[in-house]
């Protein structure tokens, strides 16, 4: 076993950064039933806002991250106001358009460096910060899901009409879910910018959005543990496959397809890994 910790730490940090938008998307897609292909757009907003706060306004790191998150959240409110009333797939298409629009706007705003990117951002994100932020993020999202609001979101996912009948406001819960999810994506974007020390609109392309959705589905819809595991596995997978050189991404795609066929419900399949679940798991084999 000669894995260098330095290299491993890099991958884990990146996985931890992607975990935030994935957790947000998990709430939106896995628990509220709305698909989004524009979360890279929210990451971009968060990333660029954080960068502006830190370099131009000299605000410290953590407040900048939060401002980045809130800005993304605010933009998602505007988007949600316009599109959340749309039924079915229309919302998904609207987010797709939004994500691309954000990227194209950033590519042409020379103040942020345009398509050439924005180098020289302060390097504040390290492994420890990412782990701490991830733990806080997981705890918050867990509490949201187990609260009354979370149950209402799940009700919206399961059956819109029935939940309306029992008095749940569809719009309100979809909006809450979208805003929390955008906040997570925004903070994730801020972390990415301060990890790389560089932002370029190209980083937040449509491919990034689809990757996030793939991770959520791969991990298992409606499972926080699944999203966490999915983020780690799918960020690490391309690195693990480095020995395949030119064929790496082909193998990556094939591996994802294979796992999805073998386990259509995703890694966790809506289950959560908690302490009691581990206890059950350990008990069961001994019974047999």
């Amino acid at each position: 076993m000669d894995l260098s910790w330095y290299y491993l730490k890099g991958i884990l940090t990146l996985a931890g950064i992607y975990m935030l938008p994935v957790l947000g998307l998990s709430l939106l897609t896995g628990f509220t039933g709305l698909f989004s292909f524009g979360h890279a757009g929210f990451m971009a907003i968060g990333g660029y806002t954080t960068a502006v706060m830190m370099t131009k306004l000299k605000i410290p790191f953590i407040p900048s991250l939060l401002i980045g998150g809130f800005t993304a959240s605010f933009v998602s409110y505007l988007i949600g106001k316009l599109t959340l009333k749309l039924k079915g797939d229309y919302f998904c298409i609207a987010t797709l358009g939004f994500g691309e629009a954000i990227r194209l706007i950033l590519e042409n705003v020379q103040y942020f460096g345009g398509a050439r990117g924005w180098p020289g951002l302060p390097l504040k994100t390290n492994f420890i910060t990412v782990v701490v932020i991830d733990i806080i993020a997981i705890l918050i999202i867990r509490n949201v899901i187990y609260s009354r609001h979370g149950r209402n979101m799940i009700a919206v996912r399961e059956e819109e009409l029935a939940s309306q009948v029992v008095g749940i406001s569809l719009f309100k819960y979809k909006m809450t879910s979208l805003m929390i999810s955008a906040f997570y994506a925004g903070v994730g974007g801020g972390l990415l910018g301060t990890y790389l020390g560089f932002l370029q609109p190209k980083i937040f392309s449509l491919v990034r959005s689809t990757e996030l959705t793939i991770i959520v589905i791969f991990g298992g819809l409606g499972s926080i543990t699944g999203s966490v595991a999915g983020a780690i596995v799918l960020v690490a997978l391309p690195e693990i496959l480095r020995s395949f050189a030119n064929w790496r991404l082909v193998v990556y795609g094939a591996a994802v397809v294979f796992i999805m066929i073998a386990r259509p419900e995703g890694l966790m399949g809506g289950k959560e890994l908690s302490f009691s679940a581990i206890k059950n798991l350990l008990r069961k084999p001994s019974k047999n």
Partner: protein, 388 residues
């Protein structure tokens, strides 16, 4: 049952991952033992794969030659190549792997500024020098007036290339007016446009039209119609050959008679077969003269080995290898700090011209640019040109 299946699956994944990442890597310090390791990163997959693959072949070819002639300071060189699929975050991972796990003594690549900029923090942390091949953004080596200690490059930079094109247009072609069509979503295209405009105006020329398009577009007639109305002497097209072929064809169809000019995104065998007559009589700025005897030597050697014509990147990757090997020889050591210091005083003749690294910029200073004209479906070298 399901849970157990899941646990099995996870275990399997973990085992496979560790087995794969561990295989074939001896983690000895590279300066001990029989071999030293040198890394290359770039796009082996994705939309820039053509260039990346050509680069990695050239680097491998160079060090194979060195190994056949007794190696570097008596040791064999092993080249490790990693794919970045054109993505900055992947480039960071790849460099972490090269420096942390493989313990390379120097890195060649990547071929784009978007990847070369984010890796500098890793290089500084691990103190390993990197020579970028065609990352032409000035900020790859210098940010806010400070030079990045471990980032070098072998190509000239965008301001220089843009300035050369503008200077040549005015001084040699005697142009008074120019129009620019550029890719608004491309960093390279934006950079060239900006510096072309600056120099052209400074030298007394006039930019009469500036139109943008978005990568992936195939119809440029709306922009070209506006350019035609402005009637410029030259039309500057700072982007890659595929779109260049489309635009030049459509422009000639619309009856634009102006001379076309471009940058180092042009030279490719495919441009000539795609655009045919449309690019006839056009000029572009290049890193080298294709007919130079040394360049020809390299071309035949590459073709014999790989079976394809080398792309432009291959020449620069070859020169980057040359630069690194020269620095190691002069440092007479595999210590990365000493190699970095030796790189700062590089003064060698590569196949793309004289490479003299500036200590404060880490760029090759005053590298000659080659002006190439397309005549009778061939790239004809015109002259070396340098901006004063």
């Amino acid at each position: 049952m399901k849970k157990r299946l899941l646990v099995c699956l996870l275990c399997l994944l973990m085992t496979v991952s560790f087995a794969l990442s561990g295989c074939g890597k001896d983690n000895k310090n590279s300066s001990t033992g029989e071999t030293v390791k040198i890394g290359w990163i770039g796009s082996l997959s994705g939309d820039q794969a053509v260039w990346g693959q050509s680069e990695s072949q050239a680097v491998k070819m160079f060090f194979e030659d060195i190994n056949n002639n007794g190696g570097l300071l008596g040791k064999k060189v092993e080249v490790i190549t990693y794919d970045t699929r054109g993505d900055g975050t992947e480039a960071v991972n790849a460099v972490k792997r090269l420096t942390g796990q493989d313990k390379v003594i120097g890195i060649i690549g990547p071929n784009a500024s978007g990847q070369a900029i984010p890796i500098s923090s890793v290089l500084e942390e691990m103190k390993v020098p990197d020579i970028a091949t065609v990352a032409t953004n000035p900020k790859v080596t210098v940010v806010d007036g400070k030079v990045k200690p471990y980032n070098f490059r072998v190509c000239f930079i965008d301001p220089y290339q843009g300035a050369v094109a503008a200077g040549f247009a005015i001084d040699v072609l005697k142009a008074k007016t120019a129009a620019v069509l550029y890719d608004v979503g491309d960093d390279y295209s934006q950079g060239l446009t900006q510096y072309f405009e600056e120099t052209f105006k400074k030298k007394g020329g006039n930019i009469v039209a500036k139109e943008g398009f978005k990568s992936g577009d195939v119809d440029f007639r709306p922009q070209l119609t506006k350019i035609k109305a402005a009637n410029p002497d030259i039309v500057f097209l700072p982007y890659f050959f595929k779109e260049v072929a489309l635009t030049t064809k459509q422009a000639r169809e619309l009856g634009i008679k102006a001379t076309f000019m471009g940058g180092d995104g042009w030279p490719s065998e495919q441009l000539l077969s795609m655009a045919k007559d449309a690019v006839e009589g056009s000029f572009f700025v290049n890193h080298l003269d294709f007919d130079d005897p040394e360049v020809k030597d390299f071309k035949t050697k590459y073709k014999n080995k790989v079976g394809k014509e080398p792309e432009l990147n291959a020449f620069l990757a070859y020169d980057a290898s040359l630069m690194l090997a020269d620095a190691i020889k002069r440092a007479n050591s595999f210590d990365t700090e000493k190699i970095k210091e030796a790189l700062e005083t590089t003064n060698i003749k590569g196949i793309t011209g004289l490479i003299v690294i500036g200590k404060d910029t880490h760029n090759p200073e005053n590298k000659d640019a080659a002006i190439i004209k397309i005549e009778n479906g061939k790239y004809i070298f015109q002259q070396k040109y340098r901006v004063q």
